[in-house]
């Protein structure tokens, strides 16, 4: 037990891998065994991550559950894990979505089950590693590792244009991440020049990197930028996403939208901002980032309007939603940052759920074309209800998660510039438009297509995959206080770096002065 407590992160990290290794020894013919194994370990991964919730202390600054072991002393790379409020939320999101994704593909995957589950579990480890690792080298390793399983998930179990989508996804992300490797190396090297010790330890680097010259920070920022921007994906780099999301199998899309995209934003929050404060708070960069975020928001929403393919539509909607996240990040205010993290979680929940729903339809009809459907709420009432709730959460209806995130983000952005916030609000309106329109086309009206008349409603398994997400959506919408508590300190640290003296401003005097009638009031009346 003591061991478990001190190594919980490693356990959470490697439980899926254990499952994968176990699966290696099960003959490939026994598909159900593999399904079972995969689900057991997916769920186990969730179970072992639950203790974090009770043990994590939100009011304790810095990283927790840290583990630190020798790895490659000759280059100063260590096996260092640890989480703070931000990564804690993302880790939980990953474990939850991971389990759900695995469960969701029980009947969807009929070919090459063994590889499928092995890859899914490995992917899980890779993603968790990205969020947990406190060693830049380790981080990069996980970052790259998780590309490969995803590549196969898309390329083997995807739909028609899977090969194209898969390789596009792989190359796109790789191009970014290799540049990131250079940036990492030069951070590593310049740190050594500064302090004389070679290390990849993020906490150590954090102490020194802000002293880098502005020019150096500038270049480093761009080095990191491409990797993260492509992952998010920010506006001009987003074109891999519709293809990947559309072609991937349901579970793949869920993971992709739910977790993978968060790595980019996580990178911005964890590295770009705190490590390179002068660069990332410089006027040009901030304006540029905000500009492309806003373009992304509007642009994604507009493209959604015309999609004929549900998955593509949802994919583009994530471009729009992630635009909000980056917008919040580069507002560099507490609300912006906190909101963007919360919005990441929300996007994970609602978009993940949307993909699950589409997957359910796809399993029944083997098409994703919107025009194929219509009036589904008659044959599938439960489906319609859950779909409605998720749609609402995705378009930011209060009392559902989406609202909290978007509100907080826009609040923080408004503080910096009213125009930016206004654009964001436009994005929200468009969001309502395309999501409701999608819902109407799919659910309302009378059943036109005979193939849809007797679609079975959701079965127990599908309900089990979706109900947790719905509950989470409501919970975050009604009582988001815990999330804010987890985020308070990490956000404070970051803001103090990029926006020094923010917390030093003098507080508002709470003076309940009785209202006195303004002197010039009468004249004001007489004027008319």
């Amino acid at each position: 037990m003591e061991f478990f407590r001190s190594h919980i992160l490693s356990v959470v990290l490697f439980v899926p891998t254990a499952g994968a290794i176990l699966a290696l020894f099960v003959p490939r013919e026994r598909e159900d065994a593999h399904r079972l194994l995969g689900n057991v370990f997916g769920f186990l991964g969730l179970i072992v991550s639950l203790p974090l919730v009770c043990w994590f202390k939100p009011d304790q600054a810095g990283f927790q559950f840290t583990e630190n072991h020798e790895w490659i002393p000759s280059i100063g790379a260590r096996y260092t894990l640890g989480i703070d409020g931000i990564s804690f939320l993302l880790v939980m999101l990953t474990t939850v979505l991971g389990a759900i994704a695995i469960l969701s593909s029980w009947s969807a995957i009929k070919t090459r089950t063994k590889e499928y589950y092995i890859l899914l579990l490995l992917l899980q480890t890779g993603m968790l590693g990205v969020f947990m690792s406190l060693d830049f080298f380790l981080f990069y390793v996980f970052w790259e590792v998780m590309l490969v399983p995803m590549y196969f998930l898309i390329g083997v179990w995807g739909s028609e244009r899977r090969l194209y989508a898969a390789i596009k996804f792989f190359l796109y992300t790789l191009a970014g991440s290799v540049l990131m490797l250079l940036a990492i190396l030069s951070i590593y090297f310049n740190y050594a020049k500064l302090t004389g010790t070679y290390t990849f330890d993020i906490q150590a680097l954090l102490t020194a990197t802000p002293q880098f010259s502005h020019g150096l920070q500038w270049w480093l920022f761009w080095g990191l930028f491409f990797a993260f921007a492509i992952k998010v994906p920010m506006f001009p780099f987003h074109t891999w996403l519709p293809d990947a999301h559309t072609e991937a199998p349901t579970a793949g899309s869920v993971i992709l939208a739910g977790v993978l995209l968060k790595m980019g934003t996580y990178g911005f929050i964890r590295f770009s901002l705190p490590m390179l404060p002068t660069a990332s708070s410089s006027k040009i960069i901030v304006n540029l980032m905000v500009a492309i975020s806003i373009i992304g928001i509007i642009y994604g929403a507009l493209v959604c309007m015309m999609q004929k393919d549900m998955k593509k539509l949802i994919a583009y909607s994530s471009v729009s939603h992630m635009g909000f996240v980056t917008l919040g990040i580069f507002a560099l205010t507490p609300h912006g940052l906190a909101g963007s993290v919360i919005q990441q979680v929300n996007h994970g929940i609602s978009t993940g759920a949307l993909f699950l729903l589409v997957g359910i339809l796809y399993e029944r009809r083997h098409t994703r074309m919107i025009s194929e459907f219509g009036g589904l709420s008659t044959p599938m009432p439960n489906f319609a209800a859950i779909y409605m709730i998720i749609t609402l959460s995705s378009l930011g209806m209060p009392l559902l998660n989406g609202f909290i995130g978007e509100f907080t983000i826009l609040r923080g952005v408004f503080e910096v510039s009213k125009a930016w916030a206004a654009w964001g609000v436009v994005g929200i309106i468009l969001g309502a438009a395309y999501l409701l329109w999608l819902y109407q086309r799919v659910m309302f009206g009378s059943v036109t297509n005979p193939a849809n008349e007797h679609l079975p409603d959701m079965n127990a398994r599908e309900l089990v995959t979706l109900v947790p997400l719905v509950l989470l959506a409501f919970w975050i919408g009604v009582y988001p206080k815990p999330l804010f508590r987890y985020l308070e300190l990490p956000v404070k640290q970051i803001v103090e770096r990029v926006n020094p003296g923010y917390y030093a401003a003098e507080p508002m005097p709470p003076t309940p002065v009785p209202i006195k009638m303004p002197a010039e009031k009468p004249q004001a009346q007489e004027k008319k």
Binding site: K168, H238, T239, L302, V303, C304, M305, M306, T333, P334, H335, G339, G375, L392, M397, L399, F407, T408, L410, R411, G412, F414, E415, K418, A421, A422, V425, V426, I428, I429, L430, A433, L436, Q440, F444, G445, S446, V478, Y479, P480, K481, F484, Y502, Y503, A505, E506, P507, M508, P509, P510, P512, V513, P514, I515, K516, M517, P518, E520, K521, K528
Partner: protein, 690 residues
């Protein structure tokens, strides 16, 4: 501190409907209809009782303590932030409820009228499918509306605000098999969304300026901030909030959704689109009166828009033939009155009219519903007439409602409308004239409606005529109650001029911040003579309207056509609602159609789906554009790069001729290059001849 059971538990008031709504939506399908109706109507009734109890206990308190706030928990503790003044404040949105005179009026109206309408629906919806769904949504609406009303801060209010919007979307689209219904629903939702955007920005600006979103702290914050009168920030807040209000309360230019909203079941129209939801805008403006009073310009805008909407909608109501649409336009116009009141600073009057309007407009809608029920779904007045004897209860109550809205003393409408007109006159005669004319029109079209429906000779088709029947008790009883309220409802606001003491306004004083109230009182006392004149004038014009309607639609039924013939264009113009929808079509839909024909077959869906909202065709165009950009420029460049690499690959391979000699030659060339790299000719030649 415990100041009474009900006051301590105001948070229960919205909870009951929520509970039953959840129940309905989860297991409603398995419940029998009578269970459903018992639970839902019961829950609303219970919350009505709680509300009543709370209000009574509130009265028990001395006037200056009549502000009761109950906080359940911290909802959005987003933490520290900067105000525009650079101060550091801690942003917290509580999940808290506020009961003060203002909200107590609203909560009574909402729960009371709401209960009656629920009760009415039992009968009305009895034969509809999706009974549980209907009541579930209705309860959900009650919950949202009560949250809106009782919220102690802007954000929570916004929750209710969005919630009622959602419910109206769901309820308008209740007959979701009808495409027109679904479209109307979406239209309503998206138009509202535009308004909400304004509200949201308003919230941001308020936080940024005042550093708080709690209604109870506005005064203090305003004082602490020591803003000048008409400070730009406050004006901006006022305007932004008003944008929200126009959306929700169907004012110019965002009123277009309301007439279409009549697609929904009649009780829905009564509850949402007459009595409660649409008045949320007025309530919201009144809630923020502290800010508005510091922003005269914003108030001007409110007043003007209100007045314009009032007369504009009234004229449109003149020639409508769909009974519900007439009421819809009259609702818009009455809301215009309320905003006019707020605009001239007579918030109390606005709320007063809101209350009375709730009574008689709900009555009218339910009445019309009962008529439609009787005529088995017929809504066109040209196919009615001479129903007076056939459905007496409905007819009588309906007429009472009509008289009330026309503003004949001593019925409710008179007091509230008259007060507004009085205040308007003090503010500026022009506004008064507009209101005055509108009053006349109101009287006219209401009695046009009455005459065409209940009197004259029957134009009902025979197959229908046989089974015209009075509605069941569940429907008529609420009508009677409401009729009663429409009669006496105005008396609590009996003006001082008529020897009363305007209790209503006095009651609201703690909420309506002092200066205006004081001002108003002053006005009320100094020119009572003027006031009598105004009263007489408004009564006169009301009567005139009634007489005209009688003349045109009973005695000389041929006249209207003559008039129509003599001013054909005007007639057509008004008859077609000033072609507003057509203009919107011409502006957006047809553009879209041209585009759509070029862009693709299924665009027609898009047009019907989005043509209404201004972005319609633009959206589709840009979205096409961006898709094009996506595939050809962004993606294209990527693929192009790939293509180039692929192509370049070939020459590189072709160099691999397979011929030894050429390989050898390349080796030689390599050597040449190497040596050439070192033997920069000039330098070498110089050292060559030393």
């Amino acid at each position: 501190m415990h100041i009474g059971f009900f006051l301590d538990h105001i948070w229960l008031i919205p909870l009951f409907p929520l509970a039953s709504a959840a129940l309905m939506l989860l297991i409603g399908r398995r419940l029998p209809n009578n269970a459903v109706s018992t639970i839902c109507v019961g829950s609303v009734f219970v919350s009505f009782v709680f509300a009543l109890g709370a209000v009574v206990q509130l009265f028990g308190l001395p006037a200056e303590q009549r502000v009761v706030e109950r906080i359940l928990f911290e909802w959005v503790p987003a933490g520290p932030m900067h105000t525009s003044a650079g101060r550091l404040v801690n942003f917290i949105a509580d999940w808290g409820f506020l009961l003060d005179p203002l909200s107590s009026v609203m909560v009574l109206v909402v729960t009371g009228v709401g209960f009656l309408i629920h009760f009415y629906s039992i009968g009305y919806m009895g034969h509809e499918g999706g009974y549980y769904r209907f009541f579930g949504y209705m309860n959900l609406f009650m919950f949202s509306m009560l949250t809106l009303v009782l919220a102690n801060n802007m954000l929570l209010m916004f929750v209710g605000w969005e919630g009622v919007g959602l419910c109206s979307y769901l309820l308008i689209g209740f007959y979701f098999l009808r495409k027109s219904a679904a479209d109307a629903g979406k239209k309503a939702f998206i138009v509202n969304r535009i308004g909400d955007a304004g509200f949201l920005l308003g919230i941001f600006l308020t936080v940024g300026t005042l550093g708080t979103i709690k209604f109870t702290e506005f005064g203090a914050a305003l004082a602490a901030g020591s803003f000048a009168l008409g400070a730009p920030a406050l004006t901006a807040i006022g305007l932004l909030l008003f944008v929200g209000a126009t959306g929700k309360s169907a004012q110019i230019p965002l009123y277009v959704w309301l007439p279409d909203a009549m697609e929904g079941p009649t009780p829905v129209s009564a509850l949402i689109h007459a009595a409660t939801m649409v008045t949320a805008g007025v309530y919201m403006v009144t809630r923020h009166n502290a800010i508005y009073q510091m922003a005269p310009f914003a108030l001007e805008v409110v007043a003007v828009i209100g007045a314009l909407t009032a007369i504009f909608a009234a004229t449109m109501g003149l020639l409508q033939n769909d009974i519900k649409r007439v009421l819809a336009y009259s609702t818009i116009s009455q809301l215009g009155y309320m905003f006019l009141a707020c605009g001239v600073g007579a918030f109390a009057a606005g709320i007063f009219h809101l209350m009375t309007h709730a009574f008689f407009k709900a009555l009218l809608f339910l009445g019309s519903g009962s008529v439609i029920h009787a005529l088995s779904g017929e809504q066109d007045m040209r196919k009615m007439g001479a129903l007076w004897g056939k459905i007496p209860a409905t007819a009588k109550t309906f007429v009472i409602g009509a008289v009330a809205i026309a503003g004949i003393p001593p019925l409710a409408g008179f007091f509230s409308k008259d007060e507004i007109l009085g205040k308007a006159f003090e503010h500026s005669p022009l506004l008064w004239i507009i209101g005055f004319v509108t009053a006349g029109m109101t009287a006219f079209y209401m009695f046009r409606l009455v005459n065409m429906t209940f009197f004259g000779n029957s134009r009902v088709p025979h197959d229908v005529e046989h089974h015209i029947h009075e509605s069941p008790k569940t429907m008529t009883v609420p009508l009677m109650v409401l009729a009663g309220l429409s009669v006496i409802g105005g008396w609590i606001g009996w003006p001082a001029a008529l020897g009363g003491s305007n209790r209503f306004e006095r009651f609201l004083e703690p909420v309506i911040s002092r200066p205006m109230a004081a001002h108003a009182e002053a006005a009320a006392t100094h020119a009572s003579a003027m006031e009598y004149l105004l009263m007489l004038a408004s009564i006169a014009i009301a009567l005139a309207g009634i007489w005209l309607a009688r003349l045109l639609y009973l005695q000389r039924a041929e006249l209207p056509d003559k008039i129509a013939a003599s001013w054909p264009r005007l007639y057509k113009l008004v008859y077609n609602k000033y072609y507003v929808d057509q203009i919107y079509d011409a502006m957006f839909v047809n553009r879209a159609k041209d585009l759509g024909t070029t862009l693709g077959a299924f665009d027609t869906n898009v047009i019907d789906g989005l043509g209404v909202d201004g972005a319609g065709w633009l959206t589709r165009f840009t979205s096409r554009l961006s898709i094009w950009w996506d595939t050809w420029i962004v993606d294209g460049s990527v693929n192009l790069a790939a293509r180039i690499v692929w192509i370049v690959s070939f020459p590189v391979r072709m160099a691999q001729t397979g011929l030894v000699s050429s390989y050898a030659l390349l080796i030689v060339i390599g050597l040449l290059i190497f040596l050439g790299y070192y033997l920069h000719p000039l330098r070498e030649l110089r050292t060559l001849f030393h």
